[in-house]
């Protein structure tokens, strides 16, 4: 029946919370709700970020890229890496931890059908060496393997719709070559994939030999070497990029200054520069989709503002509740001080009560948030078409990781304690004489 000091502290804290059940439930529900919202908002931006990385790194960029420009004359820049096998050798030696590397041709061309035309980026790929491609793309019709045959093309449904074509139809691709003249090739549509938002409106895929034929470039030339990393190395991307720059520089290549923009945004400035021949450009995935990561930043910004406001509200709520509790318990505090409780023990007693409420409420909140997130993920909630464009996914995907849950619990519990600190300090400074007062 005997008990330790901590046990009695916990008993006092817990029983006071139970005693003021309505107040505790109200405040606890508010804290839990804010925690759940924090988890959901954070899960949403993490989910979008992950989808974005996943989609972007399959469709249009590696985690780290070695691209570049080749200039026949100072004013004519082509997104070409010549003699890419030698560059690839340097890459493989410099980044041994990579998962794999692919090379792709880059271009911008006009697609013409019987009934329409559109401008799009075209990517030349070797489908047999693209292990992740099929996991991200959802085909509406056709077969991905057929893209191995020369003279074929993969379109997205929005493009096919605009061009009024289906699998089996023919298209003409028209593009300016490095020599300044226009060239055309005819291709057959072998696959149509579901749209993946922003990136898929600007992209279509043809075999790399066809791209070389279109642009009349050499067999040993490509557009970019895309390096894919394992998840554990995602945090080291800037370091890996820096390492690559140094290694390529030492191997005798001319390297462009780091510039966090997509390659197609660099044409203008590169064309204005006064050099000819080959220069390599090392970029990362964020650079290549910088024109669209603002959506992610906006989402994170909105979440941040929302969370700050909500946290401010619970801080006010907690402080208010504490003032009420301390006023009600003035005599008790005075009594405890009179019978020999030190100030810091009174402080601890009140802090403990808030921390206990905070901890319980945040755990409930995190579990609620995670449950709602799991429910939304399982329900495959369709994203409105307008938003799909930015989220790059047809379904809502919230990524609630364990680390996020722990972080939410720690942060909000800490906020609870911090909010309770000043009132608790005031309680600790109450004079023991108040115990004797006949009032209150």
């Amino acid at each position: 029946m005997s008990s330790s000091k901590l046990f009695v502290d916990l008993t006092i804290a817990f029983r006071n919370l139970v005693q003021h059940r309505r107040r505790t439930l109200f405040l606890g529900a508010a804290i839990a709700a804010v925690t759940a919202l924090l988890v959901l908002l954070n899960g949403l931006s993490t989910g979008v970020r992950e989808t974005m990385i996943d989609t972007a790194t399959t469709l249009s960029t590696g985690h780290v890229n070695v691209g570049g420009f080749y200039k026949v004359t100072a004013g004519q820049a082509a997104p070409v890496v010549t003699n890419y096998k030698k560059v690839l050798a340097v890459v493989q030696k410099t980044v041994p931890e990579m998962a794999f590397a692919v090379h792709r041709g880059r271009g911008w061309a006009k697609l013409v059908s019987d009934t329409g035309s559109l401008q799009a980026g075209i990517t030349g790929i070797d489908i047999r060496s693209e292990p992740k491609f099929s996991s991200v793309l959802q085909l509406e019709s056709g077969k991905l393997e057929d893209l191995a045959q020369p003279g074929t093309i993969l379109l997205f449904d929005n493009q096919a719709e605009k061009l009024g074509v289906k699998v089996g139809d023919a298209l003409t691709i028209s593009a300016p070559t490095t020599r300044g003249t226009n060239n055309t090739i005819d291709v057959r549509i072998v696959a149509i994939a579901h749209s993946l938002g922003l990136l898929s409106t600007w992209n279509c895929f043809i075999p790399i030999e066809s791209l070389r034929a279109l642009y009349q470039i050499n067999q040993d030339a490509t557009g970019v070497i895309q390096i894919m990393l394992n998840r554990k190395d995602f945090d080291h991307i800037p370091a890996i990029a820096a390492r690559l720059r140094q290694a390529l520089d030492q191997a005798g290549y001319r390297i462009m200054e780091p510039d966090p923009r997509a390659f197609w945004m660099k044409f203008q400035s590169v064309s204005r520069e006064d050099w000819t021949g080959q220069k390599l450009d090392v970029t990362n995935w964020e650079d290549e989709i910088s024109f669209m990561t603002w959506t992610l930043k906006a989402l994170e910004g909105i979440s941040y503002v929302l969370i700050v406001i909500l946290v401010a509200i619970i801080i006010i709520g907690i402080m208010n509740t504490m003032w009420i509790a301390i006023r009600e318990r003035t005599r008790e505090i005075g009594t405890l001080r009179a019978i020999g409780m030190h100030r810091r023990e009174v402080l601890w007693m009140f802090l403990l009560e808030s921390l206990m409420l905070g901890l319980l409420a945040t755990i409930v909140g995190v579990l609620m948030g995670a449950a709602v997130a799991a429910g939304l993920n399982a329900a495959h909630v369709p994203v409105p078409t307008g938003l799909q464009f930015f989220l790059m996914s047809p379904h809502l995907h919230l990524a609630v990781h364990g680390s996020l849950m722990v972080r939410a619990i720690v942060i909000i519990t800490f906020v609870t304690g911090a909010a309770a600190f000043y009132p608790s300090l005031k309680a600790a400074r109450l004079r023991p004489v108040v115990a004797m007062s006949h009032f209150g």
């Binding site: 029946m1 005997s2 008990s3 330790s4 000091k5 009695v8 008993t11 006092i12 029983r15 006071n16 005693q19 005599r331 008790e332 009594t335 405890l336 001080r337 009179a338 019978i339 020999g340 409780m341 030190h342 100030r343 023990e345 004079r431 023991p432 004489v433 115990a435 004797m436 006949h438």
Partner: protein
């Protein structure tokens, strides 16, 4: 016998806005170990103020208060708290138990604050006191489940659990009926005899004073005299 409390020319002024309220106007008093002393006087005469000074919950505006040989004006807040924790027990007029703790936990609390005894030692001491105040069956009850007299007995047990040299009680029976009050006084008196604990309690009730060794009478912040209970009872003409 040794003085456990020694008050010299103690003055206490309260500041209310810009008015100075003199609560004690120079009180000198010695209390020896083992005493069972009543402080009597009409409302507003300064009984609570004097007990606060002796109980180290307040310090005098001028003059000195020595408790267990220590001048309270020389002590820091922390040292005063330690002095209260280890030397003094308190019994309050409105019992002042911690409502969310059980009777057992309330009595054990000062021991936990002291951190001197281990669990079994504490349990033994609390159980003995519960027995002593006649509440053996009530350890697991909450204070709200007890009568006023039972609550004050819990408060007495809490005040005595650390075996303090001095127990202070500010009108311990004012919230009790006279029969229950008399029982409480009997209990205090008995503990005073067996444990040799010094008791100082305030009251303005003649029948309560009758239990004391001596009665110190206060009026208007001054010590009037120190008499026997019999004298106090006889001189009904005095302010009481």
């Amino acid at each position: 016998m040794k003085a456990i409390v020694s008050v010299r020319e103690a003055v206490k002024n309260y500041i209310l806005g810009n008015v100075v309220v003199p609560a004690l106007r120079g009180v000198t008093l010695d209390v020896v170990e083992g005493d069972f002393l009543a402080i009597a006087g009409p409302s507003g005469s300064g009984k609570t103020t004097l007990l606060n000074l002796i109980g180290c919950v307040d310090t005098p505006t001028s003059g000195t208060v020595e408790v267990a040989g220590k001048d309270t004006r020389q002590l820091s807040e922390r040292e005063l708290t330690d002095l209260r924790l280890h030397t003094i027990g308190f019994i309050f007029q409105s019992f002042n138990l911690v409502s969310v703790l059980t009777v057992f936990q309330n009595i054990e609390l000062p021991l936990l604050l002291q951190r001197k005894l281990n669990g079994p030692e504490r349990a033994q001491r609390v159980a003995a006191l519960l027995e002593r105040v006649g509440l053996r069956e009530y350890g697991a009850h909450r204070p709200s489940e007890l009568s006023g007299g039972q609550r004050q007995r819990v408060a007495i047990a809490r005040a005595l659990v650390t075996r303090p040299q001095l127990v202070l009680a500010d009108e311990p029976t004012a919230n009790l009926d006279s029969v229950t009050g008399a029982h409480i006084l009997d209990l205090m008196r008995e503990l005073n005899r067996t444990e040799k604990t010094t008791f100082i309690f305030s009251t303005h009730d003649q029948s309560v004073m009758a239990h004391a060794n001596a009665v110190v009478r206060l009026a208007d912040g001054k010590l009037v005299d120190r008499v026997t209970p019999a004298q106090a009872a006889a001189e009904t003409g005095l302010p009481a």
